[in-house]
Symmetry: C2
Subunit: 704 residues, 2 copies
């Protein structure tokens, strides 16, 4: 993926001082090892303690951990760093301080975890960080900049993650599920963690993966599917040693591991007759279970829970609410510093499609906002970015702005369940950037700021949650099935860190992955930059969503979910299409939004075109802000989207011989399938809406 | 199922002479054993040789095998009986002849295999048969008639099977298929034959099943799925001993076993580089393979082949046609007396839905009729009853009348793939009776007559094929999942034999299964007699077919197959629905029919209502012969069909306590699911067509 040896050439050819000590822990050791490997490969040299001031000043590059208050020292690699760690005063550290001390005045007087400063200073390149994780992030920030980071004029900046939790959940089963396979909604082969019920013997691939994630600031991973089947439930108990082996693989890269657990575990694993969260025996069971986990994994992160959702057990069975449920686990984890990620994806999946008053989009808000303030402070409520389920286009979930007293994490889907299943090139950076930068709160705060618990202007900080993505990797030789889907994993991490420009992030990925060939850079941008919009254009129109084949969710089926129990309808008839979610005449979902969105979305006049059918049922002849009618928009976007895919294929073809053959060939195969599938989408959707509406395509293009 | 001990009470309380000898083989032994068990249980007595004339005349019941030319004698139980078997002349046979000799003049002077005479004669009940199989069928015919067969005035009739082959194919996999399960399109649990790749250790259930089938004249079974996966392919070679064990279980009941084989077996099993039917090495391979099979199973029936169909290998890969393919196997089987059942279910399952000129309904005719006369005489071409695929309503396949020089078997589907999957009560006897009695041929011959190779009036006999059904049984405690689906298995056998009245056949089944309670008899008739029409009424309307959920085929999905590669379309738009298969303006499929059907179906004026949308695309406002419009017909039948299911549930409820509780409860559960599902069908279809047509239901019933 994005850490080829070649990316380390600029660093590796220098004389590099890494100023860490034996107490700085395994992440610091990783930094040393990275520099050692790079300098060995490319002819530079690594300097470690002890050094003199002169030796330090003779280095081209200095990487140093400084104390949390700006004093050069060491910090434990565990997160958060232990307070009050005494600064070291030996000659080695004085040497380093001579290099960096006047830098510290440039930055914050309080360095937060993961923060680092990087830049040119007095003719050399310096990375200083609050802790080992920050040093690792700074190292990789330097690598990303390439030669430019190692030459030129003084220019020093501080960087820090917006969100303190940057997590990837893996919907991996330990055994192959008869319907969902080894990785639920996975499109890249088997699980890199699990095989036949146990952790893999050979974890070298996990180590590579952990290095990749650590390099872009991911600091938490969920190791198993949120749908917890019987075999996977036992990870918490019988197979905790397997989990410990994975924790060992992730730890050197600053990443803590989490397990998805079953709320019914006290019954299914513990032999109790109840899982009632208010039952003391249940509370004791969880406390004991976690005690044993922490004996094996002292820095175990905590749990991810899908409860009362799509058949998973939960507190409702006992007449308890989700605060009771989440706090049960939170209190059992508290003594050990663990956190509960409690998913807000709770809705009725046995809905009666005949009943137009029930609106799945309302469900998370209706279930959770009454509980705001009731969750313990080691609970994070994990909310999908939209009110439905990872569609190509949804409005941002109003839950995110509606629970100021609750830690909230925003959940994004890196694995392309509804966005082409890693058969289609669909770069999701722009979607996530739109979501994260969307000024949802009444005070204008963005989704990213809310998730980070940051205030804006005079606002008060709120509790910090995080950003969570569902991973897209597997045992596939390219990690992600579609090699270009690696860019999604990269972009997720960088946007979760706080980067805002998805095209700039993509540019980083291109540079790391392919080097500096401007032809490649230009072509990959041409293929990916707008690929999300392209995908949107030939699939479900105008945010109406769910026109996919039921079950596997690949390919078009306009009415596939229309008469089902899943709450995902478009109500297309011979006259019009869309879901009336207004307060005036519909389900009232618009009322869950703060101002101004509650009114922007309420009115067909102000609702953005791209969200029109999510909020309104309109005639096919309704004229969009774009000037086109809804029906002509459907015809045009589907024809144009397919044409764009053909163009993407041609662009990629121009790279033959410029990127590795295996990579080229795989992408070519996928683009051919994307073209086939996009043609199917185009013709199916155009035909279905022509048959319904009877309105011809004004351009006269063929409708079958 | 239909052979409870109680059914044998009338026979078992009599003095019964069974006049068979040691040379009559295992089927004759079965007759003796049945009578022995019955008389032991119910206080009668069994008389076997030697007897005097007086002893014979003192019996209440006489069962005897007579020679094929009407002379009392013995015949081998193998089928067909060996010609020229010398008549026995010992006193035993003279005694029997004294009872039956003047009966023989009443019947045919030449008795055909399986034929028997049954009736009252000189104050006693007599069964005479050409062979042991006929004697078995006659025994069970007597049992079916109950006490009436054993008292009353003289009344003697001859009976014989119309079709010489009456076969049940089992789509059983030896290992559980990841998608299709153990029994493909099976709705009654696992396979009674196979478990974990091998034949079951305990074949007692197979023995029960063989007894049931033998009692109603089934004489052939296919033991494995026509989609032959890797494990099942090896039945022909590595696991032929497993097949032999099953043959041993079926043999005593007059049933020969067949295997489905893979056309690619010379490659996959034999290690050859080709399966080309004209390659001598391939021919040798099959000859050797069958030689080994017949060493293990001397009366092995032969093979069933699905070739070049839905991904199965076939002769097309080598530029050969299906006559080449079938004759390859036929010539390898000929030395041993084996037969090839070669399925005509060949069509393009990668069809482009955009192309309205390709018509799957035409495929079997287009592929096979040019080959008429080219198939060897131990090849039977197995043709599904309709041109598509076992839909609830299709016209009869024109192939059946179009190949006078080819042995044809008509294939019916007992397992309810498209007719409610043994969740819905759907008695298929009326459908099959309509198909088998349909006067398809230009000379007026029915489908059953064509399959039997019989002539009518001055017509010439054609080669005899048979009737084949796909079995609906499994390891379920009631054999068929829905207990009332037992009636379908029973009816298939009786209609394949030659019975014509499906209600009378159902009445037999009710009597055997439940005894003589008139309340039960009346209620089961009320539930089942019209249940096929009821099912038709709430599912796809007017023979348009395929409005099921793709893949599993259960439940409604109006457009589920509309934009797929399967060739199963209805072209419903805002104005109308149906497939134009006319010669004048459509695909020309009507031209595959002989007169008068080619013209009856061609004209919208003469096409029967129930087949209208199979042959014509009409506006929703088209007025049917019934006087209703198409759209109102859809509305009415779907509402009425659901109401009828509710009524069926009420009728069944009246039987609580009158039928065994477990049977009652299972049927009640299924009727509840049928009611739920029928409501879903009703509302989905009514809504979908209202949304498309915009035409309200004239009765004002709710449309969602």
């Amino acid at each position: 993926m994005w850490l080829p040896d070649e990316a380390f050439r600029p660093l590796g050819s220098r004389r590099v001082l890494v100023a860490v000590g034996p107490d700085d822990g395994p992440v610091a050791e990783t930094v040393v090892a990275e520099v050692a490997a790079a300098t060995e490969r490319f002819g530079g040299s690594l300097v470690t303690s002890p050094v003199t001031v002169d030796e330090a000043l003779a280095c081209d590059v200095v990487l140093a951990i400084v104390g949390s208050a700006g004093t050069v020292g060491t910090a434990s690699a565990t997160m958060p760093p232990p307070p009050g760690h005494p600064p070291r005063t030996d000659p080695y550290l004085r040497a380093v301080q001579a290099v960096v001390e006047d830098l510290l005045a440039l930055g914050s007087s309080v360095l937060s975890p993961g923060m680092f400063g990087l830049g040119r200073h007095r003719g050399r390149t310096v990375v200083v960080a609050a802790d080992a994780a920050g040093l690792l992030y700074g190292l990789h920030a330097m690598v990303r900049r390439g030669e430019a980071a190692l030459s030129g004029l003084d220019d020093f900046v501080w960087d820090l993650p917006v969100s303190s939790v940057r997590m990837l959940d893996h919907w991996d089963n330990t055994v192959v599920h008869p319907v969902m396979g080894q990785v639920e909604r996975g499109y890249a082969g088997g699980s890199i963690f699990w095989s036949e019920g146990r952790v893999r013997d050979d974890l070298s691939r996990v180590a590579q993966y952990a290095r990749l994630l650590g390099s872009v600031g991911i600091n938490a991973v969920g190791l198993n599917n949120v749908n917890v089947h019987a075999a996977e439930a036992r990870l918490l108990t019988d197979h905790v040693d397997d989990v410990a082996r994975l924790a060992d693989a992730f730890r050197p890269h600053g990443i803590r591991v989490y397990l998805s657990v079953s709320f019914a575990a006290p019954i299914t694993l513990g032999g109790l007759e109840t899982a009632d969260p208010l039952d003391p025996a249940v509370q004791d069971w969880w406390a004991s279970a976690f005690r044993r986990v922490y004996e094996a994994i002292p820095d175990f992160g905590g749990v991810v829970v899908k409860a009362d959702s799509e058949g998973q057990p939960g507190p409702f069975a006992y007449g308890r609410d989700h605060a009771d449920g989440a706090n049960l686990l939170a209190r059992a984890l508290r003594p050990f510093g663990g956190t509960v990620f409690w998913r807000a994806f709770v809705y009725d999946h046995h809905q009666d499609w005949r009943d137009r008053s029930t609106d799945r989009a309302r469900a998370a808000y209706d279930h959770f906002t009454p509980l705001d303030g009731r969750f313990d402070d080691n609970v994070v409520l994990q909310v999908k970015y939209g009110p439905m389920d990872f569609q190509t286009r949804e409005p941002v979930s109003p839950v995110i702005a509606a629970m100021p007293r609750t830690r909230l994490a925003v959940e994004l889907q890196v694995t392309q369940e509804y966005t082409g299943q890693q058969q289609h090139a669909c770069y999701l950076g722009p979607q996530w950037a739109e979501v994260l930068e969307f000024p949802l709160a009444e005070d204008g705060r963005s989704v990213a700021y809310i998730a980070a618990g940051l205030s804006e202007g005079d606002g008060q900080p709120t509790p910090a949650g995080g950003i969570v993505g569902v991973s897209n990797v597997g045992t596939d030789e390219f990690w992600t099935g579609h090699p270009l889907a690696q860019a999604n994993l990269y972009a997720f991490a960088r946007l979760a860190w706080g980067e805002e420009d998805p095209v700039a992030v993509l540019d980083e990925w291109i540079g790391l992955t392919f080097g500096d060939d401007p032809v490649v850079r230009s072509a990959v941008h041409a293929v990916l930059d707008d690929s999300w919009h392209t995908y949107e254009s030939y699939t479900a129109p105008l945010s109406v969503g769910f026109m996919v084949r039921p079950g596997h969710h690949y390919g078009p089926d306009v009415d596939g979910y229309e008469y089902t129990a899943w709450g995902t309808y478009h109500y297309a008839d011979r006259d019009g299409i869309g879901v009336d979610r207004t307060r005036a005449t519909g389900t009232g979902f618009t009322g869950q939004y703060p101002s101004p969105w509650r009114d922007v979305y309420e009115s067909v006049e102000t609702c953005p075109d791209e969200l029109l059918l999510f909020f309104h049922h309109v005639p096919y002849t309704h004229v969009l802000h774009s000037g086109s009618t809804v029906i002509q928009h459907i015809y045009d976007t589907h024809a144009d989207g397919y044409d764009e895919v053909v163009r993407m294929g041609g662009t990629w073809e121009s790279l033959r011989g410029r990127v590795p053959d295996a990579f080229f060939d795989r992408v070519s195969e996928r683009l051919a399938e994307q073209e086939r599938s996009a043609r199917e989408w185009r013709d199916h959707v155009r035909s279905a809406f022509f048959r319904r509406s009877g309105i011809p395509d004004a351009t006269g293009r063929t409708i079958y």
